[in-house]
Subunit: 160 residues, 4 copies
């Protein structure tokens, strides 16, 4: 599939296993692949690996954009790995690579990705995890989903 025809979805979330998130992330990865998305993640464990597995099992293409320089650290469910050598700054590349971004739980690293998505204008679907409030007008950009199916449906809609 040439790049012109691809739609990309970035799945962001914690790099360690967290209760309930693994199944959720896997189901979201599968749904996004079935909806025709090429999946991009940060290439590590936890929710990133779970989403990658889901997409891989559904026959999708999976890209891992790693913080370090050693691609052997990537989840084995990635088809393409991009070591960046930039540490946390690679979070910007992860979200810049998605036409839509799906956040599954996550703490500070995931929040930095949600924020960068806002900075560069990528729509975000958040499932579990962060809820954002603001003292004046909350900037647009984050949409909340209650389930994997909801999240995938929203992602399809937002990716246009």
């Amino acid at each position: 599939l040439n790049d012109d025809r691809r739609r990309y979805a970035s799945v962001i979330g914690p790099g360690v296993r967290a209760d309930g998130l693994t199944d959720l992330a896997c189901e979201i990865g599968r749904g996004l692949a079935e909806a025709g998305f090429t999946l991009v993640t940060g290439g590590e464990g936890g929710a990133m690996e779970a989403a990658s597995r889901g997409a891989h099992e559904a026959g999708g293409t999976v890209v891992g954009v790693l913080p370090g320089t050693d691609r052997s650290h990537a989840t084995s469910y990635a088809d393409i790995t991009i070591p960046t050598g930039m540490g946390h700054a690679r979070n910007l590349a992860v979200v810049a690579s998605g036409d839509v971004v799906v956040a599954v739980g996550g703490e500070w690293g995931t929040l930095s990705e949600i924020a960068f998505a806002g900075v560069i204008g990528r729509p975000v679907v958040a499932v579990a995890g962060w809820h954002l409030g603001h003292s004046t007008a909350l900037p647009d950009g984050v949409h909340y989903a209650e389930s994997a199916a909801d999240a995938v449906e929203l992602a399809v809609k937002l990716a246009g």
Copy 2:
């Protein structure tokens, strides 16, 4: 003053003027300088410039860490300018340079800095702007202040 003796506070916030924030940022900058902090900002306009002006007028040292490569774009209240050429990725450097981070209003760029502060373990004081919620346990790190004086007092305490 040699670096060993300095304490640094990073002030983050919008690069454009926003109602009410200019005075607040200026007062916070002044207070932080009076408390002995070297001030670090992203070096641009809006809240960054206002905080820089406040610190400058109180006789403090002000550092601007710029996204581009041209230091002539920096606020004229900076004593030292560090053009990085890294665009939004310089946000990580801004917060890494503070022993404590004070967020004054702001939208997505500011949220990315709050998040990076969380990633690398810098305490954050938020005044106006973002309020963070989480579906499970909210990670520690962000403290809320109601006024410039509160914010400075909290920053002094958190910087240890």
Copy 3:
């Protein structure tokens, strides 16, 4: 093809067309694809596009790691595009993504990639363009080739 089985070659060079380099880069891209490499480039025009076209026409997989956030700026010969939003700092990601790096001509941007390859221990094959000398012991890492065929053969050998 899953990632474990891939070998990656990064082709670096000028983003604008330069005499003689277009055909050379195209031939190198084709040869690397025929040798089984997944091709990585900076995703832009000039030598990057020419190498991408060569690999594409030989049926290879081509990845473009872009400096900006807009994937529509990528060469149309890329199968996968990774916008990074990091400007020149993405050069590190381009070389970190190759098990071997092939430099085709190029000026300062290409030299920064050769240097980063040295920093992180990726072998470099240089064809046309830079010749490096050092006043004491030249560090290992750069190998010179005289033709596209030489460059491909060296890349195969160096990628182990």
Copy 4:
């Protein structure tokens, strides 16, 4: 001194002690400070520390732009420290911060800085270390000096 009146010189070189370079870097740092430059380095040991010491002893201002997030790793001769958290990508910030760049010996990391200086148009003075050649027209930008005094004189001239 406000930023408008400062001229900045970045000194780049190896982070470990190397024969002959320590004295050379120290003398260059001293000379640059005496010529009125604010000194910027990567904030680590070796040639960076030696240049910082020279500038410090001459009463100059010294800035260290660090790869990690922990400022306690900086040379104690820095007056201002900027931890970036970006690893090797901080090399771009080091050279972007100089109106002129002086390279003292060095291997791949130093070469990446010379190259970035070329990319963003900063003049470079090289003393010992790299000698660059090119198969077609060598791009302008790197000037060679034979001694610390030569290097400082060239830096003054090139910084305009």
